[in-house]
């Protein structure tokens, strides 16, 4: 491996593999070759030439961050990557939901049984509904705001991802209840009434108001978390600059 290869390798170490990496490697290599030819023509010896070219190119450790950020930004603009992030965030939401329900059941929450039955207890119902809305969406939103933070419009992308999550939650809760009670999805009013009104309801907190508030919450998370991420990144970069 030549010293040029070594330099390029360090610079592009954290750039995701793909077209952008190949193209950037070619650009850097060509740039260094021109510099080498130029220094050689000026009569520089091999060692002097190496030192001068590397000095002109800059500190590879610092450049690595700039190339990584750009590589991730490129990656974040790929529709396939965005779709993968959205789907992964849905998986995170489902996992979080699953763990949360296990914990709630372990503590004693149940529809009409356990230490803390929800039936005829609006406060408990509201609590379970709120917790099962807030935690999974926060976890998914945090994941999305990290994975898409290099996108040109991270807020829009995170909001869209959380919009998808909202849709999945609604379809899941309505769909499962539709199956359980034999009420088709298009009879929404009847379905909502059965969900929150009768005994043995599947998701008693799930009302049209809840679905509306959940959407508003998802949008707030989608706007807020990318800002939190950005502030944390800026703080981290500031601390690093201070150390240097």
């Amino acid at each position: 491996m030549t010293w040029q290869d070594e330099f390029i390798k360090v610079c592009l170490k954290k750039v995701p593999a793909g077209a952008y990496r190949i193209r950037t490697e070619a650009e850097l290599r060509e740039h260094m070759e021109i510099l080498i030819q130029e220094r050689r023509a000026a009569g520089a010896g091999e060692e002097q030439l190496r030192r001068e070219v590397l000095a002109r190119m800059g500190d590879p450790a610092r450049l690595q961050k700039a190339y990584q950020a750009e590589g991730l930004r490129r990656k974040a603009l790929e529709p396939r990557y965005i779709a993968e992030c959205w789907l992964t965030s849905v998986v995170w939401m489902e996992l979080c939901w699953f763990v949360l329900y296990l914990l709630l059941a372990a503590v004693g929450f149940g529809n009409d049984s356990g230490a803390f039955p929800l039936y005829a207890h609006p406060g408990r119902t509201l609590f379970v509904g709120a917790v099962s809305a807030v935690l999974p969406t926060l976890v998914s939103g945090w994941y999305l705001s990290g994975a898409l933070r290099f996108h040109l419009h991270p807020k829009r992308m995170v909001c869209a991802g959380l919009g998808l999550i909202w849709l999945v939650i609604c379809l899941e809760q309505l769909g499962l209840s539709a199956l359980a009670y034999g009420i088709p999805l298009w009879r929404l009013g009847e379905l909502f009434a059965r969900l929150s009104g009768g005994s043995d309801p599947t998701f008693p907190w799930f009302t049209p108001l809840y679905a509306g508030l959940l959407l508003v919450w998802c949008l707030l998370v989608g706007i807020g978390l990318p800002q939190v991420r950005r502030a944390l990144d800026a703080r981290g970069a500031g601390e690093e600059a201070g150390q240097n």
């Binding site: 950037t24 510099l35 950020a69």
Partner: protein, 111 residues
Amino acid sequence: MKVDKELTKGSHELILLKLLSRKDMYGYELIQEMSLLSEQVFAMSQGSLYPFLHGLEDRGLIQSYTREAGGRERRYYRLTPAGQGALEEKERQWGIYTRAMERILKGAWGG
């Protein structure tokens, strides 16, 4: 000639857009032109040029394409119409800034 880096911060975008408004160029050529025209005041670490150019490309201000040069493919950059608009706006802002600074430095308050 060297000046405080803080002073030149933020001007690279304007310089690169301006250079590309004259003709399409590749990375090394841009660095050379920047250095020559500014008498080396605006020389930048050459390795940092590409992420900078790629960022401008992401924002649609410039476009890249490959062209054969000396038997090999070379990537050139050109200004887009959006880049031309951004350049005009930046030139206008830069004019306001330099005039204001000049007034202050020359003591235009009459003291």
